[in-house]
């Protein structure tokens, strides 16, 4: 399906926590997980997000969202980030300009 978006994480010991954080941050989405061993696809539809606050709840109070870059070996869609959250959204845009996060 064309509207699938989300990160692809490499092998590591924080995958389950990240999946839980993404599920918490996207309560209206059915987050799908495709596990291929050395990589795991985490995917929702159209737009999903994860916040530093939620990640800290699972990975420790000192977790920096920039460290997400050590896990994410690829992604589907367009990734937009700032100091508080990462968003994966459709590449095709309807409204918001490049680089601006459409906050809920």
């Amino acid at each position: 399906m064309n509207s699938v978006v989300g990160p692809i994480l490499r092998m590591g010991d924080q995958i389950e926590e990240v999946i839980a954080a993404i599920r918490d941050d996207n309560p209206d989405q059915d987050i799908e997980v495709v596990d291929r061993g050395s990589y795991v696809r985490i995917q929702g539809h159209d737009r999903i997000r994860v916040t530093q606050n939620t990640l800290r709840g699972y990975l420790g109070a000192d977790y920096e969202i920039r460290s997400f870059g050590t896990m994410m070996s690829s992604f589907v869609g367009r990734v937009v980030n700032n100091s508080d959250e990462i968003v994966w959204e459709n590449i095709k845009r309807t409204a918001s300009p490049e680089g601006v996060l459409a906050h809920d």
Partner: protein
């Protein structure tokens, strides 16, 4: 002390596109490097990546990546993991080390070119991180391969490959120099970050890591998937470039995609296809090459280019058909011309392996089974010499890979044929129709001598197998051979032999 958030200062410090007064703008940003073409120069002011990073963040994150990758390497160094790996899998890693280490270095040059000539400060900033990434990849790949040189001389080709005139690096240099070194930076951003790094490297660095981990090569899986986390970031130079180019010159955008996609697809059929479908031990294969291509290229990458407003390339049907043939033909060629490669190609056609191949590629037995049967019967007749090459394969004048693609005839027979072109007093041969079309459209750029052209011109002396191997830089300690002939032939011992091998077998039993 409270630090400002990145988004509160990054836009300001990155805006270095002031108006020069001491020199002409064209002198700083010459068109032949910047490649703006039909795109108005001011349009590049809108270039902005959506996945942002600052230098402090970059350094801290890269340090974490390096620490964890080298920690795994150090932990495994004192184990027997390497000795226990299957020879087929080791060959997959030798292909990777030799085929990739110095391509990463070419990518440093490509990123540096964008860091200098990209027509926007944000782009040049991203490319500066990109060249640091590629430097890391060149170093880590060379270093990880070097660890095994003392145990197996073929790993020496990690560094050696691209310094030789072996036919494989000639093909790869032709592709990657054309993609990373020669183009202007706009074409480069579409070819390297957008097509190669958003599409095909996922196949070699993430999909292959699944097979690596299953095969027990934790170190290799860890290294390649760590490399790809850098690619995921700096490949984001492709999207904003694509958006601007599509808006002003969609024909050019489509052509650059079409050309680089095809070249990448041919190279990966040779590099990744045999590794996934033949070299990885059967019990450790996560998916077939075709299935990985469907997941990463057809489902993911093609949706991406369509979302940017482009179409599937014009040769799409030929590409899809090739998913069932290209890498099988190339595998057979790599095995047959095994003295010319720096790994030990495993034939991988035991009964169980053939059943798996037939389940993934329903036409496999029909097209390839009888050819392998000849090899099997020759080996079982103790006549391995009959399975070794005495001639050279014809190489395609675009991709420089052997013309070895089987296509169906009207009578149902599958035959290997070439696509020919008479041009400038010479007859050229191509492995596929699209290689022929790309040559014609881009003949002033992609027109380079293949190894066969060099041979026929007398550049390789003496004109025999020894002379050719010497020209390729191949030495006896690194020369490829099948790691275990018995592994794929013992299932067939004692069966009735027909066809070409029959004469040999009768001779052997008399």
């Amino acid at each position: 002390m409270t630090l400002l958030k990145r988004e509160e200062w990054q836009g300001f410090v990155r805006d270095v596109d002031w108006t020069p007064t001491y020199v002409d703008y064209e002198a700083i940003y010459p068109e032949w490097h910047c490649g703006t073409g039909k795109v108005p120069r001011e349009a590049w002011q809108g270039w902005e990546e959506s996945y942002k990073v600052s230098y402090p963040e970059y350094v801290a994150t890269q340090r974490e990546k390096e620490s964890s990758t080298y920690a795994v390497k150090a932990a495994l160094q004192r184990s027997n993991t390497f000795q226990d790996l299957d020879e087929g899998w080791k060959s997959a890693t030798k292909m990777h080390f030799g085929g990739v280490a110095l391509v990463e270095y070419a990518a440093v040059i490509g990123e540096l070119k964008m860091a200098r000539f990209g027509l926007n400060g944000s782009w040049r900033n991203m490319a500066t991180f990109g060249q640091l990434d590629e430097m890391r990849h060149a170093q880590i790949t060379t270093f990880f391969g070097h660890e095994f040189v003392g145990q197996d001389a073929q790993y020496d080709w990690t560094q050696k490959t691209f310094h030789t005139n072996d036919w494989v690096p000639i093909a790869l240099r032709n592709l990657f120099d054309g993609m990373m070194v020669a183009p202007n930076v706009v074409d480069l951003a579409i070819e390297l970050p957008f097509t190669f790094e958003t599409g095909f490297t996922n196949l070699q660095f993430i999909a292959l890591s699944a097979d690596a981990l299953e095969s027990g090569d934790v170190n290799f899986a860890n290294m390649i998937s760590s490399i790809q986390t850098d690619e995921a970031r700096h490949s984001q130079q492709g999207g904003p470039t694509m958006e601007i180019l599509v808006e002003h010159d969609p024909v050019r955008a489509q052509w650059v995609i079409d050309k680089s996609f095809w070249g990448s697809a041919r190279a990966f059929a040779a590099l990744t296809g045999p590794a996934m479908d033949y070299y990885t031990p059967l019990e450790h294969r996560k998916q077939s090459y075709r299935e990985f291509m469907e997941e990463w290229i057809i489902d993911q990458y093609i949706h991406t280019i369509e979302d940017y407003g482009l179409k599937k390339p014009w040769y799409w049907d030929e590409f899809i058909t090739g998913l069932d043939t290209w890498h099988h033909g190339l595998h057979m060629g790599l095995w047959y011309w095994r003295p010319t490669v720096w790994w030990r190609p495993k034939a991988g056609v035991s009964k169980d392996e053939r059943a798996w191949l037939a389940s993934k590629y329903p036409n496999w037995e029909n097209v390839y089974g009888d050819k392998w049967d000849v090899m099997i019967d020759q080996v079982n007749a103790n006549n391995v010499a009959a399975t070794l090459p005495e001639t050279l394969p014809w190489l395609c004048s675009t991709c420089h890979l052997p013309c070895c693609n089987a296509t169906p005839s009207r009578n149902g027979e599958w035959k290997v044929r070439t696509w020919q072109l008479d041009y400038d007093g010479k007859k050229y041969h191509f492995c596929t129709n699209a290689c022929r079309q790309i040559f014609w459209k881009d003949r002033d750029n992609v027109n380079h001598e293949t190894l066969i052209d060099r041979f026929l011109a007398g550049q390789i002396q003496p004109m025999d197998v020894g002379g050719i191997l010497n020209y390729m830089g191949m030495t006896p300690d690194a020369m490829g051979d099948d790691p275990d002939y018995g592994a794929w032939t013992r299932d067939y011992i004692g069966r009735a032999v027909e066809g070409i091998a029959a004469a040999t077998v009768q001779g052997a039993t008399q």
